[in-house]
């Protein structure tokens, strides 16, 4: 029988990320008894029965987070450790698995029990191949992707044991910065992902390039629809090749094989082709629509739900007007 530990962290202000409660739900679905451990700011007042708290653990940092996680896992004697695949956990838990001579699998999209065995489902080759696997090695650390299941209800623990952990560090946390443009890239709570492709910076029917208007149309839509903004690799790379660029786009916006794979209910692609390296970034977009001039482009081959063959400048101009009404 597995000894299951749900290991979560708090964010600034002692708030639990949603992904932490999703992990609790996934652990409960496996059955059996679970222990919840929390580290971070205000951890001893959170949902865990064991915690590591204190100023040193308030900020994300490998050395302190790994020390806290190691102490909690050792104390619990867990054979199976479930944690949310947040940036903070992804940074520290693989190292903790190495310290405990265990195993680690990240980006799990499902965890299930098959008889006595626990199986993990995850993607390989940038969301192009799906596989399920199990392991004999213990402790086995599984990082569960945010959005993989519905969050559980969890109340603060009746009794909390706070562990004392010593964790020297040579790193100081200096804060957070947003992209200089002031524009959000991927908004986790947005319902829609808008992706701009390289066609926005190509010559239009009048023979000229209209990057200023393209920028206005794209940003106008992102603001009025409150959508996430992504772009194709080719558009981002143009900045390094001396071609016309949309100045607010950076590598942070890049969606696809070498970019992010965000999760949104809907996605709208404009001026980009639905070739496989790009479409892997859309793997977790449920409802996909695209606007471009080529009816034979990759989107038409079973990758989008609707492909509108039209001029994105004209469509977006009109769409922005309608959304502003």
């Amino acid at each position: 029988m597995e000894n299951i530990l749900v290991l979560v962290h708090t964010n600034e202000g002692g708030i639990l990320p949603r992904a932490a409660l999703e992990t609790v739900a996934a652990a409960r679905a496996l059955g059996g008894e679970i222990t919840i451990a929390v580290f971070g700011e205000g951890a001893s007042a959170s949902i865990g029965s064991i915690a590591v708290d204190g100023d040193a653990f308030a900020v994300p940092r490998y050395s302190t987070d790994a020390a806290a996680a190691e102490a909690l896992v050792r104390h619990s004697g867990a054979t199976l450790v479930l944690a949310p695949n947040t940036s903070r956990m992804a940074r520290c838990l693989p190292g903790v698995a190495a310290r405990l001579n265990g195993a680690v699998d990240s980006h799990a999209v499902a965890v299930a029990r098959d008889g006595e065995a626990v199986t993990v489902t995850r993607w390989f080759y940038r969301q192009r191949i799906e596989g399920s696997l199990s392991r004999e090695a213990r402790p086995w650390f599984i990082l569960l992707e945010p959005g993989a299941c519905e969050p559980a209800e969890a109340a603060p623990a009746a009794a909390v044991e706070t562990l004392a952990v010593d964790a020297p560090s040579r790193t100081t946390h200096e804060g957070y910065v947003s992209p200089e443009t002031g524009e959000q890239t991927i908004r986790p709570d947005a319902r829609l992902l808008f992706v701009a492709g390289a066609g926005w910076t190509k010559k239009q029917p009048d023979g000229a390039i209209h990057t200023d208007e393209a920028a206005d149309l794209i940003l106008g839509f992102v603001r009025s629809a409150q959508s996430s903004l992504g772009s194709s690799k080719s558009l981002v790379d143009q900045s390094g090749e001396g071609q016309a660029v949309l100045p607010f786009l950076t590598h942070l916006h890049q969606v696809g094989q070498t970019g992010s794979t965000p999760r949104h209910r809907k996605g709208l692609a404009t001026c980009c082709h639905g070739e496989e390296p790009h479409v892997v970034g859309w793997r977790f977009i449920n409802d996909r629509r695209a606007v471009n001039l080529d009816p034979n482009c990759g989107w038409a081959r079973g990758k989008a739900d609707v492909l509108y063959v039209g001029d994105s400048f004209e469509v977006m101009r009109e769409l922005n007007r309608l959304l502003a009404e």
């Binding site: 994300p60 490998y62 050395s63 947040t86 940036s87 940074r91 520290c92 838990l93 693989p94 190292g95 698995a97 190495a98 990240s106 980006h107 098959d114 993607w123 080759y125 940038r126 969301q127 192009r128 191949i129 596989g131 399920s132 199990s134 392991r135 090695a137 040579r170 946390h173 200096e174 957070y176 947003s178 959000q184 908004r187 986790p188 829609l192 790379d237 390094g240 090749e241 950076t250 590598h251 942070l252 890049q254 094989q257 070498t258 809907k266 709208l268 496989e276 390296p277 629509r289 038409a300 079973g302 609707v306 492909l307 509108y308 063959v309 004209e314 469509v315 101009r317 009109e318 769409l319």
Partner: protein, 262 residues
Amino acid sequence: MSFDIIVCGGLAPDPLQSLEPAPGPALKNEMMLPAVFDPWAAHALYEAAHLAAQHPGNRLRVACLAPKAKLQQVMMIMAQKLPFELIPLDGASNGFSDAMPTAEALASAIQALPDLDRDRLLVFGGWESATRGAGVVMQIVGERLGITEQFLAVDELRIDNGALVIKERVEGGRHMVSRCAAPPAVLAWATGNLPEPPNHPQTGMANMRTMMPALQKAPPTATASGIAFREVALPKVQRETRIVKDLPAADIARELAAWVKE
């Protein structure tokens, strides 16, 4: 301040290739598929070379675990982009291989370097690979080397009075800024900010003079997997795409506006 920079990287199938799983698991015709240097590791390498060029006395090496024949093909291309020394490990490595033994092999190769300067050591790599996509190798390499200052999804590194000022990607499209007092440190890079360097044949020729002998001596490296695969398959979903042609832009916009507001 000078650094001893080691970039860990692997190979990945060319992103434009169609991939199909085969028993093993492996990729169908895996040895025939054209390979590239892993895109995330490549970003780390470009950033490493940029840093190395800024400070005299810096040293840049690349540790790579891959089948020797493929490694040679890919290094013929990478060698033309920037100067570096190669630490090759000849072994099977693909998306289905186990990250833990891969990391152990890389860490052992780094540890075995006779002239490793730990006080100046920066270990770079991609934040995950384009094959396994696990995002765990660099942390395990760091642990095995005893490095507790580690950074994941790095987009920027600045040297400020000997300290490392680092921007890491975190949730919500933000960067977290940290200051690490000094090396050693592990930096697993996201995309960074640098474009792919242009090819430079003279650099390639100079690199190959040291790389070819290193490749010939690449130690065979076995990586036992602790993974039991239950199933490996392509995603089955094929969408019925509705192609809307000959509709005026205003009508398309109306349909889209209703869809956005749904």
